[in-house]
C-alpha cells in the first residue's frame, strides 16, 4: 500500500501536467510538465517521502521495458524512412559528436575561468 501512495503522487502530477498542457496549449508533454512541477515541489519541501522514492525507483528501474512498445513501432513504419536513413544516420552521428565536444569544451573553459573552482567530490 505504501508504494501505491507514491504512485498516486506520480499520477496526480501527470494529471496536473496534462491539464496545464491543454489549458495553456504548451508544446511540452503532460508527463514532462508533471516532472518539472514535482521537481520544483520537492525542492521547496526539501525532502522525499519513502513511498514516492519507492514508486519512482520501481518505474525508473524498468524504463527500458516501458519504451519497448514504442520502439517496436518504428519497424512497422520503416518503409516510410527508407529513403532518408542516410540523413538520419549522419545527423545522429555528427549531432552526438558535436554535442559531446561542445559540452566538454565549454565545461573546461567555464571551470578554468573561475579563480578556484570546486572540483566536485
Amino acid at each position: 500500500m505504501v508504494m501505491l501512495r507514491g504512485f498516486l503522487v506520480l499520477t496526480a502530477f501527470f494529471v496536473i501536467g496534462e491539464a496545464l498542457r491543454v489549458m495553456l496549449a504548451l508544446p511540452i508533454s503532460g508527463g514532462v510538465l508533471g516532472m518539472i512541477l514535482l521537481t520544483l515541489l520537492l525542492m521547496v519541501r526539501g525532502s522525499i517521502s519513502d513511498s514516492l522514492a519507492n514508486a519512482s525507483q520501481a518505474l525508473i528501474s524498468v524504463l527500458v521495458l516501458l519504451i519497448m512498445p514504442g520502439v517496436v513501432g518504428v519497424f512497422f513504419q520503416a518503409d516510410q524512412f527508407a529513403s532518408e536513413w542516410l540523413a538520419i544516420a549522419l545527423a545522429l552521428l555528427a549531432g552526438t559528436f558535436l554535442s559531446v565536444l561542445t559540452t566538454l569544451w565549454v565545461m573546461q573553459r567555464a571551470v578554468a575561468g573561475r579563480p578556484k573552482a570546486g572540483t566536485g567530490e
Binding site: 514516492l52 525507483q57 525508473i60 514504442g70 559528436f97 558535436l98 571551470v111 570546486g118
Partner: protein, 249 residues
C-alpha cells in the same frame, strides 16, 4: 495473428488464434523479451553493444514477424506497458531533485555547458538532417534525441516528430555517445572526470551514464546529474529552438 507460420499443428493453432486475439499475449512477450535481453546485458558485463533496448526490440520484432502479427494486435497488449511511460516520466523528478545537491559550487559552469550542449545537440541534428534532405518529421524526431527516452518522446510528439522514431534515435544516440565519447576522451587526453561526466550525460543520457559509472563513480555521478538537467533543459529549450530554426531555414 492472421498467419501463424510457426505453428502447423491445428490444435496449437486454435489456441494461438484464441490467445493472440487477447491483449494478454502482447503484454507477455514484451515482458519475456525484456527479461531475456536484460540477462544478456548483465552477462556481457553491461557492454553498450548489448544494450537491452536493442536486443529486446530485435527479439520482439523477430517474434512478431515469425507469427505474422500486426503492430495493432501487439500494441493492444503492449499499451499497458506503454501507458506507464507517463508516470515514469514524472518519476524522473526524484533523481533530478536528488542530483541537485551536486551542483553547489559548479552550478554556473554546468548550466552554461549544459545549455550549449543541448542547443548544439538539437540544432546540429535539425540542421544536418535539413541539409541532407530529411523531412520536417525526421528533423523534429531528431531534435530532442539527447534527452532521456520518455522526455524526448514527449517533446517529439508535441513539436511534430514521431515519438516511436525518436525512441529509436534516443537509444542509438545513447549507444553512439557512450562508445564515441569514451574514445574521444582518450584521444583528447581529458582527465577531468567532472567534465567528462557532464559531457556524457548531456549527449548520451542514461546509456552514457551507465558507461560513465564503469569509468569512475565521480564521472557516473556527474553524468547522472547532467542527464537529469539535460532532460529539463531539452524540454524547455528545444520547442523554442525548433521555432527559431523554422524561421531561419
Amino acid at each position: 495473428m492472421n498467419n501463424p507460420g510457426l505453428l502447423p499443428d491445428p490444435g496449437l493453432k486454435d489456441i494461438w488464434v484464441y490467445l493472440s486475439a487477447s491483449p494478454l499475449l502482447g503484454l507477455t512477450i514484451t515482458l519475456v523479451a525484456y527479461g531475456l535481453a536484460y540477462r544478456l546485458y548483465l552477462r556481457t558485463g553491461s557492454s553498450p553493444w548489448a544494450n537491452p533496448v536493442v536486443t529486446s526490440v530485435a527479439l520482439l520484432i523477430g517474434v512478431l514477424v515469425l507469427t505474422g502479427s500486426t503492430y495493432d494486435d501487439y500494441f493492444a497488449g503492449a499499451q499497458f506497458v506503454h501507458f506507464l511511460l507517463g508516470p515514469a516520466t514524472v518519476a524522473l523528478a526524484v533523481p533530478l531533485y536528488q542530483q541537485f545537491s551536486r551542483l553547489r559550487q559548479l552550478w554556473l559552469p554546468v548550466t552554461i555547458s549544459l545549455i550549449c550542449g543541448v542547443v548544439i545537440a538539437g540544432g546540429s541534428s535539425i540542421g544536418l538532417a535539413w541539409l541532407l534532405g530529411g523531412s520536417t518529421e525526421i528533423q523534429m524526431s531528431l531534435a530532442p534525441k539527447s534527452a532521456t527516452a520518455p522526455v524526448a518522446m514527449g517533446i517529439s510528439e508535441k513539436i511534430g516528430g514521431l515519438p516511436s522514431l525518436t525512441a529509436v534515435l534516443v537509444v542509438l544516440t545513447g549507444i553512439t555517445g557512450a562508445l564515441l565519447g569514451t574514445k574521444l576522451f582518450e584521444w583528447l587526453r581529458i582527465k577531468d572526470d567532472t567534465a567528462k561526466g557532464i559531457a556524457m550525460g548531456v549527449a548520451a543520457h542514461g546509456i552514457g551514464t551507465a558507461r560513465a559509472f564503469q569509468v569512475s563513480p565521480q564521472m557516473g555521478a556527474f553524468s547522472g546529474l547532467a542527464m537529469a538537467l539535460s532532460a529539463f533543459a531539452t524540454a524547455l529549450l528545444v520547442p523554442w529552438l525548433v521555432d527559431l530554426m523554422a524561421a531561419m531555414l
